[in-house]
């Protein structure tokens, strides 16, 4: 079925006339119809509109038109603005909000001919690691529906892994693309901070957020990045660095590539199956000529504390705009203050409230220096650790997560335990690096395990080349969850 194809295979078949974009889109819609009641990956979609886009794409192709994603159905995390479509961030607070504008990445996807269809589930405002914090209810892991799919871009990962779309966009603030990709067995790329415009991504933590693709293989990841990367005059933090040709760099050759293994990543709570799978993956790369070097990232143990201060502080301001004045589900009050407080008290879910409160606290008078300023300084130390390591190595390999997907409900009452599971992914955002998660095995219970590679800022070419080499050397990508 076309919905199970990678982007590049689908494009080949669309070009050969084997299949139409309408058929591919219908296949995705049918797939959603048949399995999404169980998986709950989608918050909403407009079949009619999707098929109209598909017909336009088919016509364009028939008229000789081209586009890197011409006719390819892409699902979008419900945190990215799509003009004339609802935008909820899986929160009640946005009510019936409809975006009057397109995010820059959406504009770029459309320019490349993509079918932008469907809003996928997430943790509310991207705050979470399990997609359990969604006003739309939790998404489920396609490999075992009793387990979480990871988060916050859980819907994006589920939709790709379960072939409900061909590829999707997610956002990653502390691992929110890589972690669900690892837990669902697909490829998730967090580009370097500034590589992809954030304009139109509802901000969680502005200095950490980055949009990235979730795909069925590494080549697709390169294709998607190619389309969405680049400087944007609507995002002051996007970088004008030239965008290289990512796909042409997928040579399958890692000879001489130096891969670092951080000593500090041997943490308590690292699952032995995860550890073994990642070790085999590293060996596989070594066999193909990569040089494996032990490195040190001495401030690793401070990353989670640093992250939760910086991210929540930024979030406390970013989410202040949701107060019921200009949009969203207002709860009435006798004065604006009461209206705001009730609207936010009822509209936000508990994790969001927790984080806003924490963020407000660490910025408040008398605490700023002790918490926020100190965290910003430790962030410098963490960043310096990485930049120093990247003098010795080109990439850093590790597990994406310490364990395979845990069960739904297992950690909801212990937010701190949930936060601690982000240990391997968080530093990448703090340091502004690029990172990718690719499948590297399964637990004995059949749950996917992810290998994370991290690269220096704008080091996506090396990152993708290495990930692609490993992927092609194994056949994890060909395993599909049994859902029918």
């Amino acid at each position: 079925m076309p919905n199970s194809l990678t982007i590049h295979r689908l494009i080949e078949r669309l070009n050969s006339g084997d299949v139409t974009s309408r058929q591919a889109t219908e296949a995705c819609l049918n797939r959603i119809q048949s399995i999404d009641r169980e998986l709950n990956a989608f918050i909403g979609f407009d079949s009619e509109e999707a098929l109209t886009q598909a017909d336009v794409a088919d016509k364009t192709r028939a008229n000789g038109g081209e586009g890197a994603l011409l006719g390819v159905p892409i699902a979008i995390k419900d945190a990215i603005a799509v003009k004339d479509h609802p935008l909820n961030c899986a929160s009640k607070i946005l009510g019936d909000f409809v975006s009057p504008y397109d995010a820059t990445v959406i504009r770029k996807l459309r320019n490349a001919g993509a079918i932008v269809f469907g809003r996928v589930n997430m943790d509310e405002f991207a705050m979470g690691s399990s997609t359990e914090n969604s006003s739309h209810g939790p998404s489920r892991n396609p490999w075992n529906i009793k387990h979480i799919p990871g988060g916050s871009s859980g819907g994006s990962a589920v939709a790709v892994a379960a072939d409900e779309c061909v590829a999707s966009l997610g956002s990653d603030t502390g691992g929110s693309i890589r972690q669900p990709a690892a837990l669902c067995g697909c490829v998730g790329l967090k580009p370097t901070y500034g590589r992809v415009s954030r304009y139109g991504l509802v901000a969680f933590a502005s200095s950490l957020d980055q949009i990235g693709p979730l795909t069925k293989d590494v080549r697709d990841s390169a294709t998607m990045l190619q389309v969405i990367a680049g400087v944007d005059d609507r995002d002051s933090t996007s970088v004008s660095e030239a965008v290289p040709d990512y796909s042409s760099n997928l040579t399958g050759d890692v000879k001489g590539l130096r891969i670092g293994l951080p000593r500090e990543y041997q943490v308590d709570g690292l699952d032995s199956e995860v550890k073994d799978s990642v070790n085999s993956a590293v060996e596989c790369l070594a066999e193909r000529g990569a040089e494996i070097i032990e490195i040190s990232l001495p401030h690793t143990e401070y990353a989670i504390a640093t992250y939760y201060i910086i991210a929540t502080a930024e979030a406390s301001a970013n989410l202040a705009r949701f107060e019921g004045v200009r949009y969203g589900a207002r709860v009435n009050g006798s004065d604006p203050q009461e209206m705001n407080s009730k609207t936010r008290g009822i509209g936000f879910g508990e994790e969001v409230k927790r984080r806003i409160i924490l963020g407000t606290y660490v910025l408040s008078s008398g605490y700023y220096d002790a918490y926020y300023l100190r965290a910003q300084k430790v962030r410098t130390l963490i960043r310096e650790d990485y930049l120093k390591a990247f003098e010795e190595v080109d990439l850093i390999a590790s597990p994406t997560t310490p364990t395979p997907a845990f069960k739904i409900g297992e950690k909801v009452d212990d937010p701190l335990q949930m936060y601690l599971s982000d240990i391997f992914t968080i530093s990448c955002n703090l340091a502004g690096l690029c990172g990718i998660s690719i499948p590297c095995g399964f637990s004995k219970h059949g749950l996917p395990i992810g290998l994370q590679l991290q690269g220096r800022p704008f080091g996506e070419p090396d990152l993708l080349r290495c990930a692609h080499t490993y992927e092609q050397a194994t056949d994890w990508r060909n395993k599909k969850p049994k859902l029918d």
Binding site: L87, F97, S316
Partner: protein, 474 residues
């Protein structure tokens, strides 16, 4: 007991730009509500700010005009507070690294020069405008995101009059520099006043009272006067002053305390992650410096010394900068700048007001007024004819000499031509002639007037007077 007031001002001035601070919406007053808005300035989810280069240039320019330093590093911070007119519920501003610091404003005050130090002039964004109805309020976000410069003085101001003069001086500097139109009616200038009172000779400052959101300079003066006497009364009566924010009620002529919760001012500032710091380069600063103009006080002094203008005239030309520019343009290296100034200040200004025409649309050339002055000086036309010619050239744009030529207005000085007019006048007015002969000198003026009338003003009055005397005595 003798008291002195210590006053500091925070003046918010909207910058004159085409677009807002972070987005391409028009920076425009008077549009239909919520029409100059976009995802950015409405604070929609996902929108991001990008700074307006022109606002930063105008900020640096203001810095130069106010004798400030423009530091090599400036950054943006979020000031967090909820208010319905504040779209993001944080205001972007510059907390600890503002774009300009440490300057001063000099102005004429109390027969000398007043000087107020400027602590900083930092850039921030304006908020929307609220309208209050009987049972609800409404918000228009057209103003939200308009670049706003906050100019903060040191507590150098010692009286309400000094505050008033400082504000006027600041306004004219900003208008002169093209930084802001400073239109009070449009709310382009708003002021917070900090006032404390202490015993003369004390070095410690008293408890500071802030009067917020004043929108007229005279209001600032009145409020300051009221507040100073209120604070003195409190001290005199043994009461204690508290640091607080008060509001000026212009109708009642009093300030009253505002209800504020104890933690209302925990703004939780932190660096804005969406905006990158600004490091002005030497080239960038040099380009801004090119735009620095002469300040009003300096210009007035120059007008008085270089052109020998009287103070009143110089003041008119400084107060109306365009008129002053025009004066400088037309007087050029002319011989009679003082006379040219008179024409510009009196005749031209009146005509412009009367017709509503702007200087840019004047029909006559920049050499016309000096030429007209020259014709009078050389005795070719009388000053009353000059008035007529001026009206004509204002209307038609013709050169004065052309008008003189066409209308045959040049002065009659030839005694041969004038004699006939004189004899006619003598013949027609036997009464006054008689009076004159009886020694009534003023009768001569009447006869002179008759000759002028008959010559349609062209006769040279000097020559006419001499001729009349000659004929009557002859």
């Amino acid at each position: 007991m003798e008291y002195e007031a210590v006053i500091g001002l925070e003046t918010h001035v909207q910058l004159k730009t085409h677009t807002k601070m972070w987005c391409g919406c028009a920076n425009e007053y008077g549009s239909e509500p919520n029409t100059n808005v976009c995802p950015v300035c409405l604070g929609l989810p996902g929108a991001l700010p990008v700074p307006n280069a022109e606002a930063l240039r105008k900020t640096a320019l203001t810095g130069f005009l106010l004798n400030c330093d423009v530091p090599s590093y400036a950054k943006w911070d979020r000031k967090n507070y909820f208010y319905p007119d504040n779209p993001k519920n944080y205001q972007l501003t510059q907390l600890d690294f503002p774009s300009t610091v440490s300057g001063c404003v000099e102005f004429e005050f109390g027969g000398g020069v007043g000087k107020v130090r400027v602590n900083r002039a930092h850039l921030e964004e304006d908020v929307g405008k609220s309208f209050h109805f009987s049972d609800f309020s409404g918000v228009d976000f057209n103003r939200a995101g308009v670049p706003l410069l906050e100019i903060v003085t040191e507590p150098d101001i010692s009286s309400p009059d000094m505050a008033y003069e400082y504000l006027n001086a600041l306004k004219s500097i900003l208008e002169y520099g093209g930084v802001s139109d400073c239109d009070m009616e449009k709310g382009q200038v708003r002021c917070d006043v900090n006032i404390s009172v202490r015993q003369k000779g004390d070095t410690e400052l008293g408890e500071k009272v802030e009067i917020k959101n004043m929108n007229s300079f005279s209001g600032v003066r009145r409020a300051a006067r009221y507040e100073i006497s209120r604070q003195m009364e409190v001290i005199e009566s043994g009461g204690e002053l508290v640091q607080e924010t008060r509001r000026w009620d212009d109708d009642a002529g009093i300030t009253d305390g505002m209800r504020t919760k104890e933690d209302a001012h925990d703004y939780r500032y932190f660096p804005d992650p969406d905006l990158m710091p600004h490091r002005p380069s030497e080239e960038w600063l040099a380009a801004v410096r090119e735009e620095v103009v002469e300040l009003p006080l300096a210009r007035k002094r120059r007008f008085m010394t270089s052109f020998q203008l009287p103070e009143s005239g110089a003041e008119v030309l400084v107060a109306d900068a365009r008129l002053g520019d025009y004066f400088e343009e037309v007087s050029g290296e002319g011989k009679n700048p003082k006379l040219v100034a008179n024409w510009v200040i009196n005749n031209l200004r009146a005509k412009l007001v009367e017709t509503g025409i702007s200087i840019a649309d004047l029909k006559f050339s920049s050499t016309a007024i000096p030429e007209l002055v020259g014709l009078v000086e050389e005795g070719q036309i009388s000053s009353s004819i000059a008035q007529e010619i001026f009206a004509d050239m204002f209307e038609t744009g013709k050169d004065p000499k052309v008008i003189v030529e066409e209308k045959g207005l040049s002065q009659m000085s030839d005694s041969g031509d004038l004699e006939a007019f004189c004899r006619d006048a003598i013949e027609a007015n036997p009464g006054p002639v008689d009076d004159f002969r009886k020694g009534k000198e003023t009768a001569l003026n009447f006869l002179k007037g008759q000759v002028m009338k008959a010559s349609r003003g062209k006769a040279n009055p000097q020559v006419v007077g001499d001729l009349l005397v000659k004929i009557l005595n002859g």
